[in-house]
Symmetry: C2
Subunit: 470 residues, 2 copies
Amino acid sequence: MNKFKWLACLLGFISSVGVYSQSDAQVLKKIYTTSLTNGKSYDWLNHLSNQIGGRLSGSLNAEKAVQYTKEELDKLGLDKVWLQPVMVPKWVRGFKEYAYIESGKGKTTTVNICALGGSVATPALGLKAPIVEVKNFEELEMLGKENIEGKIVFFNRPMQADLISTFEAYGGCVNQRYKGAVEATKYGAVGIIVRSMNLRLDDLPHTGSMTYEDLPVADRIPSAAISTNDAELLSTMLKLNKSIKFYFKQNCKQLKDVLSYNVIGQITGSEFPEEYMIVGGHLDSWDLGDGSHDDGAGVVQSMDVLRLLKESGIKPKRSIRVVLFMNEENGLRGGNKYAEEAKQKGENHVFALESDAGGFTPRGFSFDCNDASFNQVLSWQPLFKPYLIHFFEKGGSGADVGPLKTETNVLAGLRPDSQRYFDHHHASNDTFDAVNKRELELGAATMTALVYLFDKYGVNPIVNEKQIKQ
Amino acid sequence: MNKFKWLACLLGFISSVGVYSQSDAQVLKKIYTTSLTNGKSYDWLNHLSNQIGGRLSGSLNAEKAVQYTKEELDKLGLDKVWLQPVMVPKWVRGFKEYAYIESGKGKTTTVNICALGGSVATPALGLKAPIVEVKNFEELEMLGKENIEGKIVFFNRPMQADLISTFEAYGGCVNQRYKGAVEATKYGAVGIIVRSMNLRLDDLPHTGSMTYEDLPVADRIPSAAISTNDAELLSTMLKLNKSIKFYFKQNCKQLKDVLSYNVIGQITGSEFPEEYMIVGGHLDSWDLGDGSHDDGAGVVQSMDVLRLLKESGIKPKRSIRVVLFMNEENGLRGGNKYAEEAKQKGENHVFALESDAGGFTPRGFSFDCNDASFNQVLSWQPLFKPYLIHFFEKGGSGADVGPLKTETNVLAGLRPDSQRYFDHHHASNDTFDAVNKRELELGAATMTALVYLFDKYGVNPIVNEKQIKQ
């Protein structure tokens, strides 16, 4: 038995007896009760969504959100609140996009599209071309240049409905949106239309980021998403008539990078102030809705974690930061900047938790960490049972905290119920009314509970064995 | 160690190794995939909600729902489909209710109310009286006749926000609605206004059943629910001015009982046709919305259980029935009738599962059964893990299946996520758009999976030990 296995056994034993005390159950009760009866997350989200609105990187709204959240953090009596400058891309949508299917002379059917984030515009009068449907890049390759050149490529692989995790279904589709233009360009396509990443059939197009990689500007082709209903319609019409044409017009463009900020607040640790634990979400959003679920929810929940710690009378041993990241959606500049500066300063980030999967009923967390830390988490499961928090799995954490990964720290992502997330994701119905107050507050409490436990017992149980036994 | 304990230990051991086979995991996969990719529940609900609408007992819509669901069951190729006659109460709301707070001469503020189900009307010109607020029946008693006689009693105890189960919060409040009139009448009240059973603050009044017990008709006082926003307003105004009056007008009435039906469909068992397992929900609903969550969801999920069994190639050993109960909301006549007739015929109901907690993401089940059966369920937990079904607790089942209880059978209730349920319960926003297709379908699949397992392994593992070992 090697050293690791021995430790794993020991931890298995500790986990079976439960590394927590009765008082922890009382603290969790206090945290959940405070969030449900005296939470601030819903009020903050109301302001972010209804007074500010969509917060695309580089927009005036994004800057308003920076100012607003900083002011609100200032009111919480934290030890420190500051802005971390970061240059972000600025892409603007321009006028509302317009598109139709032309199935014969003068026979047109209007459809709902939106430009993908980062796309170039069509020519000023729009782009009309024959359209060819594919399900994936392999089909594209099989069709080859002779069937694609001069045409618009229609990527129409739906999200897989039988996957229980809708994020897994998203993962299986999103390459069409992100890399579709690059792939289609190889065969001479003049534009792409992508089926919206949405499990429902409805009329709303869903935007999202895309890349041109290193394509010269002149070779970049306009790219748009089409609603799922219209994707079905287009596909049916194409089956009946291969010669139909597609027209679309959009005048989005990429401007110069502009200055923006991550917003950061800190409670300084009483015993280990040099160990940093962070909670965060992203302040920017897409522009079609008001970004309530993506990621207004994560922003206000993260803010409330620090407030709930204070309200519950918890004085953390470690330094706890809330970090509201700028530009997750189309650049990840905020997440990268934060990690870069942390590295430069030699800050030891022992823990990072991200909420960026919507403000729905929390089910648990996904953990990117070593086995010892994961076993420690599993030992706390009984504490979460009264709150119906049951999902504790190893896996990814979140895009913004990802760059902080080390061999010993713990990265985690809140995992809310995912069934409705892609009904709203990046679409005009990602709005405040789609968020339930209690579900949002339960998420904030669940995050706070995990932060409390990791702060109390330490992030690495091998290193911190003494603390565990206290 | 007595016999029971020994059995419990044995079952504990069996449970730790898992009483199921690899093929069960494949069957569950098939069930969930079929429901999510080829379910019928959402289409059926669309019809029930949008083509028929609210289905109050005794109404034309309720009869339309009987006909529609029977026709749809007829199409499924079951072994038998029939209607079970049952007399039901018929209460009608009449015109839309109207109410205002009078805070001074000519100073009135309109508020949102609805008559409670079963309430009598106000006088034709309405009822105006001073109003007194209480939080519970103890306060009522303390105030006594001298402070209540001739007044309207305003019951304003909110649902407790810090309870994780909203049904528990409902249970802690609903006596105000159900028994408020009876209690207030003791002290000479002339009417009651009850805060809606709703955790949100909004403008929608929520109806629901009430009783006059054996009060003579002449002594029955009109009873209505007020929206939570208006309850807050009224309470605030009362704090400032004790002499304000409340006016309301409603012309609801109780008519004679009418003939209606439970709708029943059956797949006859291949090995134990005399053992009955039922799944059900209630066809009737309140009249303000279209009853999509309460309980259109349970109806269509129950129907789909039998269809999903067939689609998944499962030939049950026991007779499986879907029972769509009439009149759960204001009488429970359907549930009582079904149990009564089952008893008369000596039908052995070994299992009954009810879905009447909304069409939200399923989290698990509550079981009313003995320890042996419950341990059997716990042994199946790993099978449900891929579908994030984690809640397996002893507790209540459901109102309609409750009368079937015996010492040895298993009654169960589907337990969906409860956070949003009371946002819609008995209110005008209990509508089809509030139901998510995937959440509904996951519920149907989860119910089907449990029925499949109980049918395969038998309901009472002590009696059926041989089957378990097969």
